[in-house]
């Protein structure tokens, strides 16, 4: 029986820039930042109140993970905003939206009341988009 998810991958264009975005803008905590040799770095971050879920910020670069063509295609897809990697939750959407906007986070959808909840959409520094929802009481 599967009990939980503890790792998820987000493909990013640049790990240094992603570190700045996820840590300094979103306020996530670094779990692991391990140099693995030339061109390889295992970098995971966690939402502040969910330390058991590690988000691996995986660099899209030619090497062990991607060949040259696949890396180029993947970079283009990510930059185009093809991938939506998940839904984040906050206690107060308007306050979080205002704070992230003040920190320079780009939103493609303002906080909006939908039939399924109160939601906004934002992009990370690579182009991956996420939904941000308000916790339902």
């Amino acid at each position: 029986m599967i009990t939980k998810m503890n790792h998820v991958s987000v493909f990013v264009l640049d790990q240094d820039s992603a570190y700045d975005f996820y840590v300094n803008k979103l306020g996530f905590k670094v779990n692991t930042d391990a140099a693995m040799g030339p061109g390889m770095r295992w970098l995971t971050v966690c939402p502040p109140e969910q330390p058991e879920l590690e988000i691996a910020l995986m660099a899209i670069s030619e090497g062990m993970m991607f060949d040259s063509l696949a890396a180029q295609q993947m970079r283009e897809l990510v930059q185009r905003g093809t991938f939506g990697f998940g839904v984040f939750e906050c206690n107060d959407l308007i306050a979080t939206y205002e704070e992230l906007k003040a920190k320079g986070v780009e939103f493609s959808k303002e906080p909006t009341k939908e039939f399924y909840g109160f939601e906004a959409l934002f992009k990370d520094d690579s182009g991956n988009w996420f939904s941000l929802g308000e916790k339902k009481n």
């Binding site: 692991t32 693995m36 062990m64 306050a95 909006t112």
Partner: protein, 145 residues
Amino acid sequence: MIDQLPKIYLYRRLVQAKLFIDKNYHDAIDLNGIADEAYFSKYHFIRLFKNIYGKTPHQYLIKVRVENARLLLKRGLPVADVCYAVGFDSVTSFSILFKKITFCSPANYQQAELKKQTEMLRSPLKFIPGCFASEKEWLQNRNFR
């Protein structure tokens, strides 16, 4: 559209207050001054801040200081230096508040983190799920295990 929401101006003032704390936590922050800056009475400010962030401004300031202390401790700075660098003026009260939030003394926290960092440098594969390392051939052609 969000600009038309009622009381959006209140949100913006509270968010600015939070960002002020985030940026200036290491200084002697006068929370009354922040309330004044945000055009709130002290008690109204505390109530609204707690509604949004789940903590009073003072509790939030302590949390931010402790979170930043963690980062400095991970860099190996002496506990007393960390204490003053993040805005506390007494090592004793810093240690008590740090332990209250992290359930660990600053010295023990630092020791554990530095040990983890050394281990991460020596055996990074221990920190990576085996499936990833194996799938991406990180287990082969590497000098470390």
